[in-house]
Protein backbone atom coordinates (compact mmCIF):
# COMPACT_ATOMS: atom_id res chain seq x y z
CA UNK A 1 0.00 0.00 0.00
CA UNK A 2 1.55 3.23 -1.03
CA UNK A 3 0.80 6.68 0.26
CA UNK A 4 0.57 8.37 -3.13
CA UNK A 5 0.79 7.43 -6.79
CA UNK A 6 3.19 8.64 -9.46
CA UNK A 7 2.85 9.20 -13.16
CA UNK A 8 5.23 10.79 -15.58
CA UNK A 9 3.77 13.38 -17.95
CA UNK A 10 4.69 12.77 -21.58
CA UNK A 11 4.20 16.40 -22.48
CA UNK A 12 2.96 19.65 -21.02
CA UNK A 13 -0.56 19.10 -22.32
CA UNK A 14 -0.44 15.55 -21.02
CA UNK A 15 0.49 16.98 -17.63
CA UNK A 16 -2.58 19.22 -17.63
CA UNK A 17 -4.80 16.28 -18.50
CA UNK A 18 -3.33 14.20 -15.71
CA UNK A 19 -3.66 17.01 -13.19
CA UNK A 20 -7.33 17.28 -14.04
CA UNK A 21 -8.15 13.60 -14.08
CA UNK A 22 -11.36 13.24 -12.10
CA UNK A 23 -11.47 11.18 -8.93
CA UNK A 24 -7.85 11.94 -8.00
CA UNK A 25 -6.14 14.81 -6.29
CA UNK A 26 -3.03 15.26 -8.42
CA UNK A 27 -0.18 17.73 -7.97
CA UNK A 28 2.83 18.49 -10.15
CA UNK A 29 6.23 17.14 -9.13
CA UNK A 30 9.20 19.16 -10.27
CA UNK A 31 12.16 19.19 -7.88
CA UNK A 32 10.24 17.60 -5.04
CA UNK A 33 12.05 19.50 -2.31
CA UNK A 34 8.89 21.15 -1.03
CA UNK A 35 6.14 18.74 -2.00
CA UNK A 36 7.79 15.60 -0.67
CA UNK A 37 8.24 17.30 2.71
CA UNK A 38 4.63 18.46 2.57
CA UNK A 39 3.51 14.87 1.99
CA UNK A 40 5.59 13.70 4.93
CA UNK A 41 3.81 16.05 7.29
CA UNK A 42 0.44 15.86 5.62
CA UNK A 43 -0.05 12.43 4.06
CA UNK A 44 -3.47 13.42 2.68
CA UNK A 45 -2.06 16.36 0.75
CA UNK A 46 -2.64 14.67 -2.58
CA UNK A 47 -3.27 11.23 -4.10
CA UNK A 48 -0.85 11.37 -6.98
CA UNK A 49 2.18 13.23 -8.23
CA UNK A 50 2.51 14.14 -11.88
CA UNK A 51 6.19 14.31 -12.75
CA UNK A 52 6.91 17.28 -15.01
CA UNK A 53 10.63 17.41 -14.21
CA UNK A 54 11.58 15.37 -17.25
CA UNK A 55 9.94 17.68 -19.80
CA UNK A 56 12.77 19.49 -21.59
CA UNK A 57 10.58 22.38 -22.67
CA UNK A 58 9.96 23.18 -19.03
CA UNK A 59 13.69 23.57 -18.45
CA UNK A 60 14.25 25.93 -21.34
CA UNK A 61 15.61 29.38 -20.70
CA UNK A 62 15.43 31.66 -23.71
CA UNK A 63 15.47 35.27 -24.77
CA UNK A 64 12.78 36.38 -27.20
CA UNK A 65 11.42 39.78 -28.25
CA UNK A 66 12.84 41.62 -25.29
CA UNK A 67 11.68 39.06 -22.76
CA UNK A 68 13.37 36.19 -20.98
CA UNK A 69 11.30 33.04 -20.57
CA UNK A 70 12.18 30.43 -17.95
CA UNK A 71 10.56 27.03 -17.93
CA UNK A 72 8.89 26.32 -14.59
CA UNK A 73 10.93 23.17 -14.04
CA UNK A 74 14.26 24.93 -14.45
CA UNK A 75 16.31 24.24 -11.35
CA UNK A 76 17.97 26.97 -9.29
CA UNK A 77 21.31 25.67 -10.58
CA UNK A 78 20.18 25.84 -14.21
CA UNK A 79 18.95 29.39 -13.70
CA UNK A 80 22.01 30.75 -11.94
CA UNK A 81 24.40 29.09 -14.39
CA UNK A 82 22.61 30.47 -17.42
CA UNK A 83 24.41 33.35 -19.19
CA UNK A 84 21.13 34.98 -20.25
CA UNK A 85 20.15 35.32 -16.59
CA UNK A 86 23.49 36.63 -15.41
CA UNK A 87 23.51 39.14 -18.26
CA UNK A 88 19.95 40.44 -17.89
CA UNK A 89 19.00 39.77 -14.26
CA UNK A 90 21.82 39.43 -11.74
CA UNK A 91 19.20 39.85 -9.01
CA UNK A 92 17.67 36.52 -10.00
CA UNK A 93 20.99 34.72 -10.34
CA UNK A 94 22.03 35.99 -6.93
CA UNK A 95 18.73 34.94 -5.39
CA UNK A 96 19.08 31.42 -6.79
CA UNK A 97 22.63 31.22 -5.50
CA UNK A 98 21.48 31.83 -1.93
CA UNK A 99 18.96 29.00 -1.91
CA UNK A 100 19.86 26.06 0.32
CA UNK A 101 23.06 24.48 -0.85
CA UNK A 102 24.34 22.50 -3.84
CA UNK A 103 21.87 19.62 -3.58
CA UNK A 104 18.78 21.78 -3.15
CA UNK A 105 19.86 24.03 -6.02
CA UNK A 106 20.27 20.99 -8.25
CA UNK A 107 16.82 19.70 -7.43
CA UNK A 108 14.60 22.64 -6.50
CA UNK A 109 12.92 24.54 -9.31
CA UNK A 110 11.91 28.11 -9.87
CA UNK A 111 8.35 27.07 -10.62
CA UNK A 112 8.14 25.01 -7.47
CA UNK A 113 9.47 27.90 -5.41
CA UNK A 114 6.86 30.22 -6.93
CA UNK A 115 3.93 27.81 -6.72
CA UNK A 116 4.71 26.96 -3.10
CA UNK A 117 4.88 30.72 -2.42
CA UNK A 118 6.43 30.47 1.02
CA UNK A 119 6.75 33.84 2.74
CA UNK A 120 10.49 33.29 2.78
CA UNK A 121 10.77 32.00 -0.80
CA UNK A 122 13.95 33.43 -2.23
CA UNK A 123 13.10 33.62 -5.92
CA UNK A 124 9.90 35.62 -5.44
CA UNK A 125 11.35 39.00 -4.44
CA UNK A 126 13.77 38.79 -7.36
CA UNK A 127 11.11 37.77 -9.89
CA UNK A 128 8.65 40.39 -8.71
CA UNK A 129 11.38 42.99 -8.81
CA UNK A 130 11.75 42.02 -12.47
CA UNK A 131 8.00 42.49 -13.03
CA UNK A 132 7.80 38.85 -13.95
CA UNK A 133 4.67 37.19 -15.25
CA UNK A 134 3.53 33.62 -14.80
CA UNK A 135 2.05 31.48 -17.55
CA UNK A 136 -0.58 29.08 -16.32
CA UNK A 137 -2.08 26.26 -18.30
CA UNK A 138 -5.49 24.84 -17.50
CA UNK A 139 -7.89 22.69 -19.51
CA UNK A 140 -9.56 25.96 -20.50
CA UNK A 141 -6.38 27.28 -22.04
CA UNK A 142 -3.42 29.49 -21.34
CA UNK A 143 -3.30 32.49 -19.07
CA UNK A 144 -0.59 35.01 -18.33
CA UNK A 145 -0.73 36.82 -15.03
CA UNK A 146 1.64 39.22 -13.28
CA UNK A 147 3.49 37.33 -10.58
CA UNK A 148 2.62 39.99 -8.01
CA UNK A 149 -1.04 39.09 -8.58
CA UNK A 150 -0.40 35.37 -8.85
CA UNK A 151 1.10 35.15 -5.36
CA UNK A 152 -1.61 36.39 -3.03
CA UNK A 153 -0.08 35.68 0.36
CA UNK A 154 2.08 33.23 2.31
CA UNK A 155 1.63 29.82 0.70
CA UNK A 156 -1.25 31.18 -1.39
CA UNK A 157 -1.42 31.58 -5.13
CA UNK A 158 -4.26 32.10 -7.54
CA UNK A 159 -3.36 28.85 -9.28
CA UNK A 160 -6.63 27.11 -10.01
CA UNK A 161 -6.97 23.51 -8.96
CA UNK A 162 -5.66 21.39 -11.81
CA UNK A 163 -3.70 24.34 -13.21
CA UNK A 164 -0.04 24.06 -14.14
CA UNK A 165 2.53 26.83 -13.90
CA UNK A 166 4.56 26.37 -17.08
CA UNK A 167 6.86 29.33 -17.28
CA UNK A 168 8.00 32.57 -15.74
CA UNK A 169 8.90 35.51 -17.91
CA UNK A 170 10.30 38.95 -17.36
CA UNK A 171 10.88 41.91 -19.64
CA UNK A 172 14.60 42.50 -20.05
CA UNK A 173 15.49 45.60 -18.02
CA UNK A 174 16.67 48.59 -20.05
CA UNK A 175 20.29 48.94 -21.03
CA UNK A 176 22.36 50.23 -18.13
CA UNK A 177 20.16 48.68 -15.44
CA UNK A 178 21.80 47.06 -12.47
CA UNK A 179 20.18 44.72 -10.00
CA UNK A 180 21.11 42.99 -6.75
CA UNK A 181 19.76 40.62 -4.13
CA UNK A 182 20.67 40.32 -0.45
CA UNK A 183 19.67 37.61 1.96
CA UNK A 184 19.94 37.46 5.75
CA UNK A 185 19.89 34.01 7.33
CA UNK A 186 20.97 32.55 10.62
CA UNK A 187 23.84 30.70 8.98
CA UNK A 188 25.60 30.87 5.65
CA UNK A 189 23.97 27.96 3.85
CA UNK A 190 20.82 25.89 4.21
CA UNK A 191 19.20 28.82 5.96
CA UNK A 192 15.65 30.05 5.84
CA UNK A 193 15.64 33.71 4.90
CA UNK A 194 15.09 35.98 7.85
CA UNK A 195 14.89 38.88 5.41
CA UNK A 196 15.64 39.42 1.74
CA UNK A 197 15.78 42.47 -0.50
CA UNK A 198 15.74 42.59 -4.28
CA UNK A 199 16.49 45.85 -6.04
CA UNK A 200 16.96 47.18 -9.53
CA UNK A 201 17.95 50.62 -10.72
CA UNK A 202 19.19 52.78 -13.54
CA UNK A 203 20.69 56.26 -13.79
CA UNK A 204 20.87 58.57 -16.77
CA UNK A 205 23.95 60.30 -18.15
CA UNK A 206 23.70 62.95 -15.41
CA UNK A 207 23.63 60.25 -12.73
CA UNK A 208 19.98 60.96 -11.98
CA UNK A 209 17.94 57.91 -11.04
CA UNK A 210 15.48 57.11 -13.79
CA UNK A 211 14.37 53.74 -12.50
CA UNK A 212 14.25 52.19 -9.05
CA UNK A 213 12.58 49.02 -7.91
CA UNK A 214 12.53 47.41 -4.48
CA UNK A 215 10.93 44.21 -3.23
CA UNK A 216 11.36 42.78 0.27
CA UNK A 217 10.94 39.14 1.27
CA UNK A 218 9.95 37.71 4.65
CA UNK A 219 8.76 41.19 5.61
CA UNK A 220 5.32 41.90 4.19
CA UNK A 221 2.22 39.73 3.75
CA UNK A 222 2.38 40.07 -0.02
CA UNK A 223 5.63 40.13 -1.91
CA UNK A 224 5.38 43.29 -3.95
CA UNK A 225 7.27 46.25 -5.30
CA UNK A 226 7.16 49.05 -2.76
CA UNK A 227 6.06 52.04 -4.82
CA UNK A 228 6.49 54.50 -1.97
CA UNK A 229 10.14 53.56 -1.69
CA UNK A 230 10.73 53.72 -5.40
CA UNK A 231 9.18 57.18 -5.60
CA UNK A 232 11.65 58.41 -3.00
CA UNK A 233 14.49 57.56 -5.35
CA UNK A 234 13.36 58.37 -8.87
CA UNK A 235 14.51 61.78 -10.12
CA UNK A 236 17.19 62.17 -7.47
CA UNK A 237 20.93 61.63 -7.45
CA UNK A 238 22.08 58.53 -5.57
CA UNK A 239 23.70 59.34 -2.23
CA UNK A 240 24.08 57.51 1.08
CA UNK A 241 21.59 59.97 2.56
CA UNK A 242 19.08 59.13 -0.16
CA UNK A 243 19.43 55.44 0.55
CA UNK A 244 18.80 56.16 4.21
CA UNK A 245 15.60 57.98 3.34
CA UNK A 246 14.53 55.13 1.10
CA UNK A 247 15.26 52.63 3.85
CA UNK A 248 13.16 54.62 6.31
CA UNK A 249 10.24 54.51 3.89
CA UNK A 250 10.82 50.78 3.41
CA UNK A 251 10.41 49.97 7.08
CA UNK A 252 7.41 52.31 7.29
CA UNK A 253 5.85 50.34 4.46
CA UNK A 254 6.68 47.07 6.20
CA UNK A 255 4.89 48.24 9.35
CA UNK A 256 1.99 49.65 7.37
CA UNK A 257 1.48 46.40 5.47
CA UNK A 258 2.35 43.83 8.14
CA UNK A 259 1.60 45.66 11.35
CA UNK A 260 4.03 45.96 14.24
CA UNK A 261 4.75 42.36 15.23
CA UNK A 262 6.95 40.44 17.64
CA UNK A 263 9.74 40.38 15.07
CA UNK A 264 9.50 44.01 14.03
CA UNK A 265 11.93 45.23 16.67
CA UNK A 266 14.57 43.25 14.84
CA UNK A 267 13.36 43.63 11.30
CA UNK A 268 13.19 47.42 11.39
CA UNK A 269 16.91 48.00 11.90
CA UNK A 270 17.96 44.95 9.88
CA UNK A 271 15.79 45.83 6.91
CA UNK A 272 17.05 49.40 7.10
CA UNK A 273 20.63 48.20 6.81
CA UNK A 274 19.87 45.76 4.02
CA UNK A 275 17.91 48.30 2.00
CA UNK A 276 20.69 50.87 2.19
CA UNK A 277 23.18 48.24 1.19
CA UNK A 278 21.28 46.88 -1.77
CA UNK A 279 20.84 50.36 -3.20
CA UNK A 280 24.52 51.10 -2.68
CA UNK A 281 25.27 47.96 -4.60
CA UNK A 282 22.92 48.88 -7.42
CA UNK A 283 23.81 52.58 -7.78
CA UNK A 284 27.36 52.84 -6.46
CA UNK A 285 28.64 49.56 -7.87
CA UNK A 286 29.65 48.74 -4.32
CA UNK A 287 30.00 44.99 -3.94
CA UNK A 288 28.67 43.80 -0.62
CA UNK A 289 30.45 40.92 1.12
Amino acid sequence: MHQFGYVQAASVSDAVLLLNEPGLQSRPLAGGTDILLQLKHEPQFCDRLVDISQLTELHRIEQRDGWVHIGAAATFAEVLENPIISATAPVLAQACATVGATQIRNMGTLGGNVANAAACADSLPALICLDATAKILTPAGEEEIPLSEFVTGPNCTSLPSGGLLVSLSYPIPEEGSRSAFLKLGRRNAMAISRLTVAALGRVDAQRVITEARLVTGSATPRIERLAAVEQTLVGKKPTAELYRQAAAVTVDEMIRLAGYRWSSEFKVPALTAMTERVFAQVFDHKEVR
Binding site: H2, Q3, F4, G5, Y6, Q8, L29, G32, T33, L36, L37, L39, K40, L49, D51, S53, Q54, A77, G100, A101, T102, Q103, I104, N106, M107, N188, A189, M190
Partner: protein, 160 residues
Protein backbone atom coordinates in the same frame (compact mmCIF):
# COMPACT_ATOMS: atom_id res chain seq x y z
CA UNK B 1 6.16 -0.01 -10.27
CA UNK B 2 9.11 -1.32 -12.25
CA UNK B 3 12.25 0.77 -12.36
CA UNK B 4 15.24 0.52 -14.60
CA UNK B 5 18.25 2.77 -14.33
CA UNK B 6 22.01 2.92 -14.62
CA UNK B 7 23.53 2.43 -11.19
CA UNK B 8 27.28 2.82 -10.82
CA UNK B 9 27.80 1.95 -14.47
CA UNK B 10 25.49 -1.07 -14.59
CA UNK B 11 21.87 -1.36 -15.59
CA UNK B 12 19.68 -2.41 -12.68
CA UNK B 13 16.04 -3.35 -12.49
CA UNK B 14 13.92 -3.26 -9.40
CA UNK B 15 10.37 -2.97 -8.17
CA UNK B 16 9.39 -0.14 -5.92
CA UNK B 17 6.33 1.60 -4.61
CA UNK B 18 5.40 4.83 -6.42
CA UNK B 19 6.09 6.82 -3.28
CA UNK B 20 9.43 5.21 -2.47
CA UNK B 21 12.38 7.54 -2.22
CA UNK B 22 15.58 6.84 -4.10
CA UNK B 23 17.28 6.51 -0.72
CA UNK B 24 15.03 3.69 0.39
CA UNK B 25 15.36 1.87 -2.94
CA UNK B 26 19.15 2.08 -2.80
CA UNK B 27 19.35 0.88 0.77
CA UNK B 28 16.43 -1.51 1.10
CA UNK B 29 15.80 -2.87 -2.41
CA UNK B 30 19.34 -2.87 -3.73
CA UNK B 31 21.25 -3.41 -0.49
CA UNK B 32 23.62 -0.49 -1.04
CA UNK B 33 23.92 0.89 2.45
CA UNK B 34 26.76 3.34 1.82
CA UNK B 35 24.20 6.11 1.27
CA UNK B 36 22.90 7.13 4.69
CA UNK B 37 19.80 8.69 6.16
CA UNK B 38 20.62 11.50 8.56
CA UNK B 39 17.51 13.64 8.74
CA UNK B 40 14.95 12.66 6.10
CA UNK B 41 14.26 16.27 5.13
CA UNK B 42 17.12 17.15 2.80
CA UNK B 43 19.08 19.20 5.32
CA UNK B 44 22.14 17.09 6.16
CA UNK B 45 23.31 15.66 2.83
CA UNK B 46 24.23 12.24 4.26
CA UNK B 47 21.98 10.76 1.58
CA UNK B 48 23.72 12.56 -1.33
CA UNK B 49 24.11 10.74 -4.63
CA UNK B 50 24.96 11.86 -8.16
CA UNK B 51 21.97 11.92 -10.50
CA UNK B 52 23.14 12.45 -14.07
CA UNK B 53 26.27 13.92 -12.59
CA UNK B 54 24.46 16.37 -10.29
CA UNK B 55 24.64 16.14 -6.51
CA UNK B 56 21.16 15.58 -5.06
CA UNK B 57 19.57 14.44 -1.78
CA UNK B 58 18.22 10.95 -2.40
CA UNK B 59 15.83 11.29 0.57
CA UNK B 60 13.95 13.95 -1.39
CA UNK B 61 14.14 12.22 -4.76
CA UNK B 62 11.47 9.74 -5.72
CA UNK B 63 12.90 6.49 -7.03
CA UNK B 64 10.46 6.82 -9.92
CA UNK B 65 12.23 9.99 -11.02
CA UNK B 66 15.50 8.17 -11.78
CA UNK B 67 13.91 5.71 -14.18
CA UNK B 68 16.08 5.81 -17.29
CA UNK B 69 18.70 7.97 -15.67
CA UNK B 70 22.21 7.55 -14.31
CA UNK B 71 22.86 7.27 -10.59
CA UNK B 72 26.22 7.09 -8.86
CA UNK B 73 26.55 6.23 -5.19
CA UNK B 74 29.62 5.94 -2.97
CA UNK B 75 29.88 2.31 -3.96
CA UNK B 76 30.62 3.47 -7.50
CA UNK B 77 33.50 5.71 -6.54
CA UNK B 78 36.25 3.22 -5.93
CA UNK B 79 38.64 1.87 -8.56
CA UNK B 80 37.72 -1.33 -10.47
CA UNK B 81 39.77 -3.44 -8.06
CA UNK B 82 37.83 -2.07 -5.09
CA UNK B 83 40.60 0.19 -3.82
CA UNK B 84 39.91 3.83 -2.99
CA UNK B 85 40.20 6.42 -5.76
CA UNK B 86 42.50 9.41 -5.34
CA UNK B 87 39.90 11.56 -3.58
CA UNK B 88 38.99 8.77 -1.17
CA UNK B 89 42.68 8.16 -0.52
CA UNK B 90 43.18 11.85 0.20
CA UNK B 91 40.32 11.73 2.72
CA UNK B 92 42.12 8.90 4.49
CA UNK B 93 45.53 10.52 4.47
CA UNK B 94 44.70 14.01 5.69
CA UNK B 95 42.43 12.84 8.49
CA UNK B 96 39.14 13.93 6.91
CA UNK B 97 37.38 10.86 8.29
CA UNK B 98 36.27 10.49 11.88
CA UNK B 99 32.97 8.75 12.52
CA UNK B 100 32.54 8.35 8.77
CA UNK B 101 28.78 8.83 8.59
CA UNK B 102 28.94 11.99 6.44
CA UNK B 103 31.90 10.67 4.45
CA UNK B 104 30.08 9.03 1.53
CA UNK B 105 28.10 12.24 0.90
CA UNK B 106 31.22 14.37 1.25
CA UNK B 107 33.19 12.24 -1.22
CA UNK B 108 30.40 12.56 -3.78
CA UNK B 109 30.12 16.28 -3.16
CA UNK B 110 33.85 16.57 -3.75
CA UNK B 111 33.67 14.56 -6.96
CA UNK B 112 30.72 16.59 -8.21
CA UNK B 113 32.66 19.80 -7.61
CA UNK B 114 35.85 18.61 -9.29
CA UNK B 115 33.88 17.47 -12.31
CA UNK B 116 32.87 21.03 -13.06
CA UNK B 117 35.62 23.04 -11.39
CA UNK B 118 39.12 21.63 -11.63
CA UNK B 119 40.76 24.46 -9.69
CA UNK B 120 38.40 25.35 -6.85
CA UNK B 121 39.39 27.83 -4.19
CA UNK B 122 38.86 26.89 -0.57
CA UNK B 123 35.76 29.08 -0.53
CA UNK B 124 34.39 27.31 -3.58
CA UNK B 125 35.03 23.96 -1.92
CA UNK B 126 33.23 25.07 1.22
CA UNK B 127 30.32 26.31 -0.89
CA UNK B 128 30.17 23.00 -2.73
CA UNK B 129 29.96 20.94 0.49
CA UNK B 130 27.77 23.40 2.43
CA UNK B 131 24.81 21.06 2.02
CA UNK B 132 26.70 18.22 3.75
CA UNK B 133 26.67 18.51 7.52
CA UNK B 134 29.53 17.09 9.54
CA UNK B 135 29.54 17.15 13.32
CA UNK B 136 32.95 15.55 13.87
CA UNK B 137 35.61 17.17 11.72
CA UNK B 138 34.89 20.89 11.58
CA UNK B 139 35.23 20.51 7.78
CA UNK B 140 38.82 21.74 7.52
CA UNK B 141 40.49 18.45 6.64
CA UNK B 142 37.67 17.62 4.23
CA UNK B 143 38.40 20.88 2.41
CA UNK B 144 42.11 19.96 2.47
CA UNK B 145 41.41 16.53 0.95
CA UNK B 146 39.38 17.97 -1.92
CA UNK B 147 41.91 20.73 -2.53
CA UNK B 148 44.87 18.34 -2.55
CA UNK B 149 43.08 16.01 -4.94
CA UNK B 150 42.32 18.90 -7.29
CA UNK B 151 45.97 19.93 -7.27
CA UNK B 152 47.18 16.39 -7.90
CA UNK B 153 44.76 15.91 -10.78
CA UNK B 154 45.97 19.16 -12.33
CA UNK B 155 49.59 18.06 -11.96
CA UNK B 156 48.80 14.78 -13.64
CA UNK B 157 47.18 16.66 -16.48
CA UNK B 158 50.17 18.91 -17.03
CA UNK B 159 52.53 15.95 -16.76
CA UNK B 160 50.59 14.02 -19.38
Amino acid sequence: MKLQFNLNGKLVETEASADATLLSVLRDNLGLTGTKEGCGVGECGACSVLLDGRLVNSCLTLAAQVNGHKVITIEGMCLPDGSPNDLQQAFIEVGAVQCGFCTPGMVLAGEALLAENARPSRLEIRTAIAGNLCRCTGYQQIVDAIQITAQKRQEKKTDA
